[in-house]
Amino acid sequence: MTYFPDEVVEHIFDFLVSHRDRNAVSTVCKAWYQVERLSRRSVFVGNCYSVLPERVMTRFPGMKCLIVKGKPHFADFNLVPHDWGGFALPWIEAAAHGCPGLEELRLKRMVVSDESLELLARSFPDLKALVLISCEGFSTDGLAAIATHCRSLRELDLQENEVEDYGRQWLSCFPDSCTTLVSLNFSCLKGEVNAGALERLVARCPSLRGLKLNRAVSVESLTRILDRAPQLVELGTGSLTVDHHSEAYRRMINTFHKCKLLRNLSGFWDVDPRCLQSVYPVCPNLTVLNLSYAPSIQGADQVKLIRHCFKLQKLWVLDCIGDKGLAVVASTCKQLQELRVFPSDIYGTGTAAVTEEGLVAVSSGCSKMNSLLYFCHQMTNAALITVAKNCPRFIRFRLCILDPGKPDPITNQPLDEGFGAIVQSCKDLRRLSLSGLLTDKVFLYIGEYAARLEMLSIAFAGDSDKGMIYVLNGCKNLRKLEIRDSPFGDAALLENVGKYETMRSLWMSSCDVTLGGCKALAAKMPRLNVEVINEGDESDEMEENPSDAHKVEKMYVYRTLAGPRNEAPDFVWTL
C-alpha cells in the first residue's frame, strides 16, 4: 500500500463508513494514520472525558461532523447526581478554534448552556445540523440564537431534552431567508410557539421532510401546516384534542388524506380516541409509529389503529395495549423489527397490563424482530425460551420486569434459563438488559455465549462475585457494563483489571465494592479514571476520613487519555 499515492489510499478509506473501521486502519502505520486523520469527516466520542477536546480537533482538522456523549447511561434514571458533569462548552470552544468548518454537531446526555449555544451559533457559519438528545441546561434563549444565526441550518432535532421555556419567541427568530430546513423537531418543548411564524417557516421550506411539533400546537395549526407541507415523511403531531363533530376535525381528516409520503408518525399528545380515525388513511404506509406518549388511548383503540398498519417496522406503545393487543400486532405487523412497550402506570394499582404472553405472541408473529424494550409485570423461563427460538435475530434485548428480583411466577425459579436461551440463540446480540430473579448462573451463560455483546445492564441480580467475573472474563466485545444493587465486590472488580481498558466504561452503584477496592484499581490502572461519587450530606460518616472498608455508593470507571477531570465537583473523587 505504500506504493499508492495518498489520494488513492484516501479514496479507498472513503469506503470505510464505520468509525471502528476508520479507527482500525489508522493504527496500521504512520502513513495510514496521517491519511486517515486528514480525511476523516465524522468523529464519534463515546465518552466526553476519554479525551481532551483540543486533541480531537488537532488530530482531525477536516472534521465536519462531531458526535459526543456525556453522562453515563444510568443518569437517565436519576442515579447520577445532577451536576456530575458532561459539559458541552469545552467541546464547542475547541471546535470553534480548531474546526470552524464544522457542519454537524450531535450531543447526547450533556449539559448544554445557552452560552454554549450562542457560541455555537456564532462560530460555525456552515452549521447544517444540530441534534441534542437527553441534554439539559439550555433554554429557549439558546434556541433563539441558533435560529437567528445559523444560516445554513437544515436539521434541528431536539429529542427528550429538559429545556427551560422563557417564552422567547425563538421560532420567530428564523429569518425569512431561511428556506433550507429539512428536519425540525421541537416536541420536547413545553411552551407555545407563534403559530403564524411556524406556518410561514414551513411554507418557505420546500425541502422539509420531518416535523415534530410540541404539545402546544393545536389541531387547527397542524392542519394548516400539513396543507402547506403534504410532502412530509415524518410527523410528530401536537395536541390532538378536537371535537370530532367539528369542521376543524373534518379539515384535519382531509389533510391527512393528502399526506401520501408520510411514513413516520408520533406525538398524539392529549388525543381524544375518537379522533384517531383521522390518521387511518396514512396507516397503511407507516413504517414507524410512536403511541407511547398517549396514555389516553385505551388498548382497544390502539388495536383499531394498528390493524391498519401492516407495513410497520418500528412500534412504540404503552402497556395498556395488553397481551391481546400485542397478539393483534403479531398478526398484523409482519415486518416488525423493533418493539418498545412502556409502562403506563408506574406508581399505580399494578393492574397487570402485559405479561409474557404478549411477548410470546409477538415473537411468533414477527420473526424479523431484532430490537426489544419490554416493561412487564412478569416473565417465565418457558416464554423466554420460546421467544429465543422464534426470534434468533435480536440485536437489542431489554426486558424490565417491574418488580425487582421477581422469579418465574409459575415455577418460582430464577430466570437464568430464559435469558440463557436468549444469549445462546441470538448470536448477534449487542445489547442486553436483565431483570427478575437471577443467580450467578445467568452470568455464566452470558460469559459463555454472548460473544458479540457490547452493552450489559444488570440490576438486583446475582449471588456473588463469580457472576461479574464470568462476564468480565467471557464477553470479549463488552464495551459498557452498568450494574446496580447487586452483590459484586472488590474481588470481582479486581479480577480482570486489564479488561477495563478494552471497554468504554463501568458503572457500579449500591454494590459491595469498597473504597479500598477502588483505590487498588486506580493504583493498578493509571489510564483509567476511577470516580467515586458521594452524595453525602452533613450527617454522612463518609465525610470524615472514610476507611477503605467503607462501601462506595456509586462508582464510575472509564478509560481515558485525558487524565483526571479538573472540573469535577466536590462529591466526585477521582482516585
Binding site: 444510568f74 437517565d76 434514571f77 436519576n78 442515579l79 445532577h82 437527553s134 427528550e160 431534552n161 429538559e162 420536547c188 407511547s292 406518549y293 396514555p295 412502556f342 409502562p343 403506563s344 408506574i346 406508581y347 399505580g348 394499582t349 399494578g350 416493561f375 424490565c400 417491574l402 418488580d403 425487582p404 428480583g405 438488559s433 445492564s457 440490576a459 438486583f460 446496580r484 444493587d485 452483590p487 449500591s510 454494590c511 459491595d512 452524595e535 450530606d537 450527617s539 462501601k551 455508593e553
Partner: protein, 178 residues
Amino acid sequence: MEDVKGSDGLGDTELRLGLPGTSTATRSAKRALPEGDEESHDELRRTSAAKAQVVGWPPIRSYRKNSFPGRKVEAEAAAGLYVKVSMDGAPYLRKIDLGVYKGYKELREGLDNMFKCFSLAELSRREGGSGSEYAITYEDKDGDLMLVGDVPWEMFISSCKRLRIMKGSEARGLNSRH
C-alpha cells in the same frame, strides 16, 4: 431521651421490624388467612408504592415520566423529602421519599417490602435471629438517634434526616444514650 412509649408490658419491649403499638399477632394472622381480592389488591398497591420509591426504578427516563399528566413524578433528591435508609448488615443503601407515605404504618410496610425483596430477611436468618429482630431508628436534625414512632408523623417527617434499621440488640441501648 425518654423511655420508649408503651414499654409497660413485656410484649411491647419485643423488638421487631415494627413500630411500638402494632402487634405481630395481627400481622401473621393476616398472612395466614386466605386473601380476598380486595386485600391482595391493597397489598399489591402498597407493594407497588413501596417499590416505586427505589430511586431509578423502573428504569424510565425522567422526561417520559414527567410527560404523563397528574402522575407523581420522581423529584430530584433536593426537592423531595428524600432520606437515606441503611440497614445494619446489608450492603445496600436505599433512598426513600418520606413524602409519599401517609403514616408510620405505610412507612413500615414500605421498608419491610424494600428490604425483604433484597434478601435481607436471609441475612438476618443466617445471623441467627428470626427475620424480624430489627428496629427502625432515625437521626433527627440535631443528630440524635431516635426510635421511629415516638412523635407525631408530621413532626417526624420534618425532622428526620436519615433512617437506620438496626439490630434489636443495639436499639435496646438507645435509652441509655440520652
